[in-house]
């Protein structure tokens, strides 16, 4: 974890997981979200042409994380829309408000490299370790 915030993938059986970290809780939500999108499209350029708002509430932190990442999958697979930038504000209890900037998937310049079926609850973690927040989820591929 040389960078103060970021996201990397790890192996989980035949599947893969995401591990995100950052100084603020908001950072890990943002990093995990962008990390998931990057896992699907691998570094393709996304123009921040349109802004979308997302509000979520969940019974606990891990559920909020899983649901939040599920929003990224729905935007891509359900709306045909690719997120490129994100700003998260974590609220009271287990809630968040976010703004996401991105663009409609254009088959001329975007290509879905991996089909991520879902973000699972299996082994999901959201915790504070020293000065940093960490998040972990397993993906179903």
């Amino acid at each position: 974890m040389s960078e103060s915030k970021g996201c990397r993938t790890f192996d989980h059986g035949g599947d893969a997981g995401l591990f995100a970290w950052g100084p603020r809780l908001e950072d890990v939500f943002e990093q995990a979200f962008l990390g998931l999108v990057d896992y699907i499209v691998e570094g393709q350029q996304v123009r921040p042409q349109e802004e979308r708002s997302i509000r979520l509430e969940a019974p606990d932190g891990e559920s909020l994380l899983v649901e939040w990442l599920g929003e990224a999958l729905f935007l891509i697979d359900g709306e045909g829309w690719l997120p490129g930038r994100v700003k998260v504000k974590v609220g009271e209890g287990f809630s968040l408000e976010a703004k996401v900037w991105g663009e409609a998937i254009d088959p001329e310049c975007h290509w879905i490299i991996r089909d991520v079926k879902a973000v699972t609850y299996h082994g999901s973690k959201l915790l504070r370790e020293g000065d940093a927040w960490q998040a972990k989820v397993v993906l179903d591929l």
């Binding site: 290509w111 879905i112 609850y121």
Partner: protein
């Protein structure tokens, strides 16, 4: 983790009930000593079997088939049954790709008929079968029609002229499972499913043209109308985004509902509710709807395969041999400890494998048992087996099982070598994503020969024939 498993015989290993607090039944894994050693080293898949043994209402054993590997919630290859009316139903026991399954088509052509046409056929199939990723290519269906797809499954596609009544009779549940509740499927799930019918998806999904290259049991092969050198087509796909969303939606609801029912489980991914509860009933109705979507999808893919084959080969009857679901929960009757019980059988990465004589089989297969379709990796073979003794709630393996994670495959394998290896094996590969080719390379998978050998050794199935791939279409 020290695993002290009890050896029942060469192919049966038991995780005792005392292994972990909360286990209601023992775990039973159909595997041999060598494969078990690998599992013990990895550890997580066995732990997941023990977790599944804690599901309220579970009966018999928490089973794992010979292709067991680590999943989330239930391991891949897991089979668990809970007793009606109050046993648990869990979306995590079915998986995200509801009714992911395999269909086998028999063509009238022989290997030599396609001698110089393999490449043309691969091109034509690749054109006809959209992956559904990014650039979609699914059927355009109206909102009202989607609800009919969710209720009628493959029968909807046949009604639209994409197949025949004979196709339906050669499918588990005849491609139309009863009990679908389209209103229990969220708008989000429907939105994801709306444009994806008739698409393959990515990852391990494929359409393969194969050749029967070895027959082990002539009589069973004859009953299925298959002979040495015959060209067949295997389709592996599921319920696409619609099914994934149904599982996500209901896992979230079940996580919330568990507290209300006072249920505690070692893994939240196993979250569930009693089948008789409002949450349980609603999930079951939504899951059946997604399963029907998957059957409709395989029927539309069948239609597209037929069109592509006829484009290259001219007219000829292309018949459905069988269609199996390998991620599903079903209400079935089984005898447990001498008592006939109505059960909710969850199969996740496992195939139903009814023994001969079973009333649910179509007449043609009733004598020999249900065909079990086991795809291997894209460079080696796939198998057709038949159900044998009906153990493990009449279940068997569903595939080779991964040896390398996708990350390891990407790190360890070279793309050019994978393509060269496939070319050497005489396989025409067409893939939307070169990345997926690497992750799905033959070396990333366990040896499917071993899996079916163990399945036969354990008496779950009888080997009928082996299929060698010639054209592989991947998303």
């Amino acid at each position: 983790m020290v695993w002290d498993l009890e050896k029942l015989d060469e192919y049966r290993w038991q995780i005792p009930r005392g292994y972990k607090p909360g286990m209601l039944v023992p775990g039973l894994i159909f595997i041999d000593g060598e494969e078990l050693a690998n599992l013990k080293e990895e550890g997580q898949a066995l732990e997941q079997v023990a977790n599944a043994a804690c599901l309220p209402g579970i009966v018999g054993f928490a089973y794992a088939m010979p292709d067991i590997h680590t999943g989330y919630g239930l391991p891949i290859g897991g089979v668990v049954a809970t007793k009606l009316p109050d046993g648990l139903i869990t979306p995590g026991g079915v998986g995200y790709d509801i009714n992911c399954g395999v269909r086998l088509l028999a063509t009238p052509w022989r290997e030599e008929d396609l001698e110089d046409k393999w490449s043309d056929l691969a091109d034509e199939l690749y054109r006809a079968i959209p992956s559904g990723l990014g650039d979609k290519g699914g059927l355009k269906i109206a909102q009202g029609d989607l609800d009919r797809v969710l209720c009628q499954g493959a029968a909807w596609a046949v009604e639209q002229g994409m197949g025949s009544q004979e196709d339906l009779s050669m499918s588990e549940e005849e491609g139309e499972m009863a009990g679908a509740d389209p209103d229990a499927v969220s708008q989000r799930a429907k939105k994801r499913g709306q444009g994806q019918l008739g698409t393959l998806g990515s990852g391990n999904h494929f359409v393969e043209v194969q050749v029967v290259d070895r027959i082990y049991r002539e009589e069973e092969a004859r009953v299925m109308g298959l002979s040495q050198g015959q060209v067949v087509v295997m389709i592996h796909s599921g319920s696409r985004g619609l099914g994934h969303q149904v599982c996500s939606d209901y896992t979230r609801r079940m996580v919330e509902a568990m507290g209300r029912y006072g249920i505690k489980l070692p893994d939240r991914q196993l979250a569930g509710a009693p089948l008789s509860s409002p949450e349980g009933k609603r999930y079951f109705g939504a899951m059946v709807a997604a399963a029907n979507y998957a059957w409709a999808n395989r029927q539309v893919l069948t239609h597209r395969v037929r069109e592509a084959l006829r484009q290259v080969m001219g007219h000829g009857e292309i018949r459905v041999v069988w269609d199996v679901a390998h991620n599903i929960a079903k209400i079935e009757e089984h005898i447990v400890d001498g008592e006939e019980l109505k059960l909710c059988v969850h199969r996740k990465g496992a195939t139903r494998a009814l023994p001969g004589g079973h009333r649910l089989l179509p007449e043609v297969y009733r004598g020999m048992g249900q065909p079990v379709l086991v795809p291997g990796d894209m460079g080696s073979g796939s198998y057709v087996l038949v159900g044998n003794r009906g153990e493990g709630f009449a279940s068997a393996c569903h595939g080779a099982g991964r040896r390398l994670s996708r990350g390891e495959a990407k790190r360890l394998l070279q793309r050019d070598e994978v393509f060269a290896e496939l070319a050497e094996a005489g396989v025409e590969l067409r893939a939307a994503s070169r990345q997926v080719v690497l992750e799905e390379a033959p070396t990333a998978y366990k040896d499917v020969d071993e899996v079916v050998r163990i399945s036969e050794g354990a008496g779950l199935t009888r080997q009928v024939l082996r299929l060698a791939p010639r054209c592989v279409i991947k998303g």
